[in-house]
C-alpha cells in the first residue's frame, strides 16, 4: 500500500484511489477512417512497462478528479504527479 499525493487534496491513502491505466493514449481524431489495426492499437494494445510508466489515476473516494502519475512499476515508487492537460515531466 502506498500514499498518493492527490494534486487537489494532498496526501491520501491509496485505498481512496482507482487506477485508470496507461496515460496519454490519444482518442482517434478521425474514428471513421481508422483501420482495424489502428482500432486494435487504440483499444487493446498496451505498453505494460516494467519500469517508469505514465498512468492515469482517479481520486474515486475523494474529490473524484482524474490526474496523471509517473510510477516505477518495478518497485511501485511514485516519481511524479501532474494534472490532466499538463505536459508530462521529462524523464
Amino acid at each position: 500500500m502506498f500514499l498518493i499525493n492527490c494534486p487537489y487534496c494532498g496526501e491520501r491513502d491509496q485505498q481512496e484511489f482507482k487506477a485508470g491505466g496507461e496515460a496519454h493514449i490519444e482518442r482517434p481524431k478521425q474514428p471513421t477512417e481508422l483501420s482495424d489495426d489502428e482500432w486494435a492499437e487504440y483499444l487493446f494494445m498496451r505498453k505494460n512497462i516494467k519500469g517508469i510508466q505514465f498512468e492515469r489515476w482517479n481520486h474515486a473516494h475523494g474529490c473524484r478528479k482524474w490526474f496523471n502519475m509517473v510510477r516505477d512499476t518495478s518497485n511501485d515508487q511514485i516519481k511524479a504527479i501532474y494534472k490532466m492537460g499538463e505536459k508530462p515531466p521529462s524523464q
Partner: protein, 417 residues
Amino acid sequence: MRNKYSLFSLIKNALSYHENWQRAWKDPAPKKEYDAVIVGGGGHGLATAYYLAKKHNMHNIAVVEKGWIGGGNTGRNTTIIRSNYLWDASAGLYDHALKIWEGLSQELNYNVMFSQRGVMNLAHNLQDVRDLKRRTHANRLNGIDAVYLSTEEVKKFCPIINTSPDIRYPVLGGTLQRRAGTARHDAVAWGYARGADAMGVDIIQNCEVKGIKRNGDSVEGIETTKGFIKTKKVGVVAAGHSSVIANMAGLRLPLESKPLQALVSEPVKPIIDTVVMSNAVHAYVSQSDKGELVIGAGTDDYVSYTQKGSHQIVEGTLNAILELYPIFSRMRMLRQWGGIVDICPDASPILSKTSIKGLYFNCGWGTGGFKATPGSGDLFAHTIANDEPHKLNAAFNLNRFVSGDLVDEHGAAAVAH
C-alpha cells in the same frame, strides 16, 4: 537413462538413507544452437518442451528460465483445476487440459497429487444465479460435467458455509463441477522438467533473456545472460513478463500485468474437502494436503511487477471468507504472497503465432493459468512444431484483437478477476 519411480525404487533408496537418488534433471550449459527455445521455465513452458519432444520429435530444444523452474506463478497459484467455462472455445481448451490432468501422474511417472475433489462456484445475487445457470447449461452442451445446486444443496455439500439469508452476500445457490479439483503445483513443474530432460531437453536455469535477435521478419536467436543462443523458433511463455519480452522484439501485446495475491493459514485437521469459489465477493478457499487453508484474493487494479499487492485486497477477501465461514474466525495466517498475472482484455489467453516468423507467444492466462498447464503445453507445442495452431487453440490467436472475434470470459467464466 532415467530410473523409474516405483515402490521398488523407494525401498532400494531407503536402504541408502535416500542419499543416492538420481538427479531429476541435469544442469547443462546452453549449446550454441537449438531447433527451438522456450523462454520461461514454469509449468506451461516445461509442458511445452515436454510435448515438443514427446509428440513432435523435437529433442534439440531448450527451456531458459531467469530464476529457478516453477518459481514464478507456477509456485504461487492456489492450484485450482476446473473446466467449467462458458464459451465453446474456452470449454474446448480447458477441458482438453482437464482430460490430460486425469492421467498425468501415470504419464509422467511423477505424482502430481491431482485430486478431483470438486469445485463449487457460489451465487450471491439474482444475476449470479442467472449467469451460473446459463453456464451450467452451456457446460453440459459441451460435454462438461456441471450441476446447479440450491442453497440447501450447497449447505449439504459443504456444511461449514454460512447459508443464513441475513448475511451481507447471502448464498443463493451454486454450481458444482465434480471432475474439477486441485493438484500439487511444484510437482507439475518438476514432473514435466524430469520428463522433458529424459527426452534430451536442456533446462537452463538462472538464464535471463536480454534480447531477441531478428533478421527482418524472422527470429535468429536470443541474447541471454549466458550468451547468445541461435535458434529459428522461440516460444515465449513468460506470464507476467510477456510484455517485457515482447517489447524486446518490438511487438505490442494487449496485456496488463497486475499483482494477484494468495495466502495460507496454519495447518489444521481436514475441515473443507472441496474447493469453493465466490466471484462476487472475490474469495476462494480449499485445504492443502498439509492442512493449510489456501485462500485466493483478487488482483490490484494497477500495473505492477513487484509480486506484492495491496493490503486492502487481502483484507476484503478475508472479510468475505469470515462471513461465509464463521468457523475460520480464529485461524491464523502463516504466509501471504503475490504473483504477477498478465491479463487480456477478454480474460482469455493468447496461444499464437505473431507477425514475426518463428516467434510464438503463450500468455494472457491472467488469474487462472495453472489449471490449463498440460493442455496449454500440448497445444503450444503443436503450434510451434507445425507453425499452425491446433483447432483447439485457433480461437486464441493474437489477431482476435484486430478482428474483434474475442472470447469474452470476463465474469462469464466464474473467475474472480
